[in-house]
Every structure is written in C-alpha cells, then in structure tokens.
Subunit: 262 residues, 2 copies
C-alpha cells in the first residue's frame, strides 16, 4: 500500500486541438491530461494540489503518460504522472488528490473575485486577422477586461490580466462545464501578464502549481492573473479562479521564462 | 543527455537538529536537503523552482534520498529528488535549477518588503516555558512582528505573519548566511498564519512550491506569509522573502491541512 507502484501507462496522440500556431501544445491542456491520468481509477478523483515542471515541448503525434502511485492514504492519494515522447520527459507532474464535497463555510476568507465589466463590454479572445492560429481561443470562451488589454494599444501600468471564462461550444456540441480537472487547464488559460504591459516576448512556463479549493458551480468563472517581478528573463504569475457564486475555486502560481522578441 | 538518469542515492541520518517536539522534522529543512541533493554536481547549482509533495512524516534515523536527473539543458537542469524511508516515500520533489548571477534591473516590479517594527521591538521566537522543544527556533533567529502575533493574546483579523529572519549562531559557530538553497528552508520558516488568527490546530504541509528569484544579500531578511482561504480543513499560504537590500529573493506557496485541536 505504501510502496510506490507503477500503474499502466496511457498512450495518446497529441493533435492540433489545443495548439498555439502549428504545434505548440497549451500547457494547461497538458496538465489536465496528466491530472486525469493520475486520478483515473483512484478513490480520490479530484486534484487538490498539482505541481508540474515543463522540461521540453512535446511534438504532435504519439506520446505516453507514465503513472506511478506514490501513496494511497485515507483522505488523499499522491501520484506522479510524466509525459514522455521518444525517451524525453516533456512534463513531470505530481498530483495530490482527494474528494471534494459540497464546500462548507470558510473558517477564514480574504479577497474577492476580480471586478470585471459586463460580458458584453469585454474583449472576446477570437484571434485577430494575421495572428497565428490559437487552439486555446477555440476551446475556451474568454472575455477579457479591456482595461487590462495592453497588447491592443495602451500598456497597463500593472502586470495583470483578468476576464470571464467558460468552455466554448465547439461545433455545436454541448458546452462542457468546468470541473476540478478542467481547473488545471484554465489555470494556464489567460494571456501572459506581460501582454498587459505591451511586451510581446515569448513566455514559456517552467513550473506551474495549481491548488484546487472547491468544485466550481456551473456558469461563467472569473479569473485574474498578476506578477510581482520580471527580472533576468524570469517572471512569476499568480492566478485565481472564482466561480459564479463568488467562491474561490483555484489558485495557481507559475515561474516562466521571458524571451524578448527577436 | 535527454533521457532520465538515476544518480547515486544519498544516505543520511535524520536527527533532532530541526525537529518540532521529539521527532517531527521541519518541512523546509527537508526541502533544502532534497534541493541540495538535486543540484549536487550539476552545472546549475541554484534551485529556481522547487515543488514538493509531503506524503508521510519521516522518523528519526536512517533515510535515503533517491535522485533522478530528468534533463540537463543549456540554462537549466531538472531533477527529481525523493526522500524514502523503509520503502515509504516521505517527500517527493522536483527541482528546476540554474545559475543565478548578480541580479539585473527588473523589467517590472510590484510590491515592497513587509513593513516591520525595528528588530528590538519584535518578538524573538524562543519557545515559552512549557512549550514543546522546537528545533526551528534553535536554528533560525526569527523576530516576529508583535502586531501579527495573535497566538499571544489578541487574534489578528488577517491571516498574516511577518518578521525578520537570519540563521542563528549555534553554539558560537559562525552564523551561516542565507544562500539560494537556504531559501528553500526559510520558505517554511514562519509560524502558520492560523496562529495569527489565534487558532491552535496542526497545519501539516501537503504541497510546497518555492521560486527563488535572486541570490540574497548578506544580513537580515524580511518575510511575510498570508492566506486567502481556510475551508474544509485546507489552507493556502503564500510567502515572500525580501533581502536586506529590499530585493524580492523568493516566493513560496503551500497547500496545508488544518486539523483543529482535539
């Protein structure tokens, strides 16, 4: 019970559903894949704390998720999931999972959802003509606060982006509601905060940690992401996700690189 | 080069230097042990992003750190380090490491060190008579802001603790200056934020992520730790560490359990 045990690997095919441009996979999408593999068949179906290191970008095509159950306890399980391709580790994650019931009364709560303009005054994340294809914008229905959209003209003074989010309705299929696993995907769903500053460099995630705090209620979620420090090519980003009832449902932090445009 | 490779394991003896009470090892101390094992012999000596899941409490005595180099890149290496004891995984960490030079000018910076009273007006962390022995208080010289010391009488309204910190001078030996590895230890060095609220439950760390942003300058550091939500037995804590020149040198987040006193 307590010794680590390898579970069956998951073979999969990485396609263009969630790519940016021709082949860059969305980090949040990959994290959700690993989270799902980690909790599959476990008595603890909900990721509570997930931390992942992004080592190398996977290519389109066949890949494998190796799964190792490190411990199964009474209230939580801990599992390693690793995305490998051609012997290279692309993404290595550890998932502590449990069972989220109906949330109780907080013993302490601080903060509030970000203040956002009404949906109809926000910017849809549809790519502009001439921009690269972006699978995230096809899968997520994101409505960004124009006051923080520095990439469109006037840079913000603060490294912060915020907006409404839900899954898109893809090709007429029923809209997926956001569940705890999907929060792993959303946690990397906003544009990088550097875009609010009008900076157009590339922001590759190096490490991403997500804490899931509650099962989200149906409906639109609100997200806000901000940074403290961009220095020596490194950037932190902290993200909060609040559900339609005003409850904090996930917190995420990441360390990313910052590579200025050539 | 790119395939994962097992490195020699590190055998060690866990003693009472950093225990709370008779045998509970300090989480930050354990994290630094794993961080040190992960960067040993690497061209990338400084931990940049470290994430760790705490699975089971190690006991005093023999333990082993298993080390696996996942990738060595040009600018960063990624390494897994795992503390095992009797076949049980106690702590599983992934370390992305690099080389920190003299810090450059920030491209963006937000926030400031916590405002603290002068050292002589702060509370030393020496255990009070009747309190359990606490190795942390023997190894770290911590001076806490009395305005946030809810455990001494008047509970704070905010779940926040803050203070000055440096290593203690142990038995007259020269004081160790805080280096990047030591920041992994300090990141779990403050009392839990629940103590500011006057709550006396046990706060076991489940997941701890530390981002090291710069090499700290010599001298006293300032730390602040706060929470957003205590709910259903789970608590988040975010920590910042600032050096004596007013530079942000580390950020940490953790998800912890909260177990009320019996």
């Amino acid at each position: 019970m307590t010794a680590p045990a390898a579970l069956p690997a998951v073979d999969l095919e990485l396609d263009r559903t969630w790519t940016y441009g021709p082949d860059v996979q969305h980090g949040g999408y990959l994290l959700e894949l690993l989270g799902a593999a980690a909790v599959d068949g476990s008595p603890h179906p909900h990721p509570l704390a997930v931390s992942a290191h992004f080592l190398s970008a996977p290519k389109l095509g066949a890949a494998r998720i190796e799964v190792e159950r490190l411990r199964t306890g009474r209230s939580v399980s801990t599992t390693r999931a690793r995305l490998v391709q051609g012997g290279r580790v692309c993404l290595d994650a550890v998932v502590t999972a449990g069972l989220l019931g109906a949330p109780g009364e907080p013993g302490y709560a601080e903060g509030a959802p970000p203040e956002l303009p009404p949906l109809e005054q926000c910017l849809s994340n549809t790519p502009q003509p001439g921009e690269p294809r972006n699978g995230i914008t096809e899968q997520l229905d994101l409505r960004l606060d124009p006051a923080a959209a520095g990439w469109l003209g006037t840079p913000s003074e603060r490294a912060e982006v915020r907006g409404w989010v839900r899954f898109a309705s893809v090709e007429g299929a029923p809209r997926r509601e956001v569940d705890p696993l999907a929060l792993l995907c959303l946690a990397d769903g906003l544009p990088p905060v550097t875009s609010a500053l009008g900076l157009r460099g590339w922001v590759p995630t190096v490490e991403l940690t997500v804490h899931v705090r509650a099962r989200p209620a149906p409906g639109w979620l609100r997200m806000v992401q901000s940074a403290r420090l961009l220095q020596d090519g490194w950037l932190d980003e902290s993200c909060e996700i609040w559900d339609s009832t005003g409850r904090l449902v996930a917190q995420a932090t990441q360390l990313a690189g910052y590579r200025p445009p050539a």
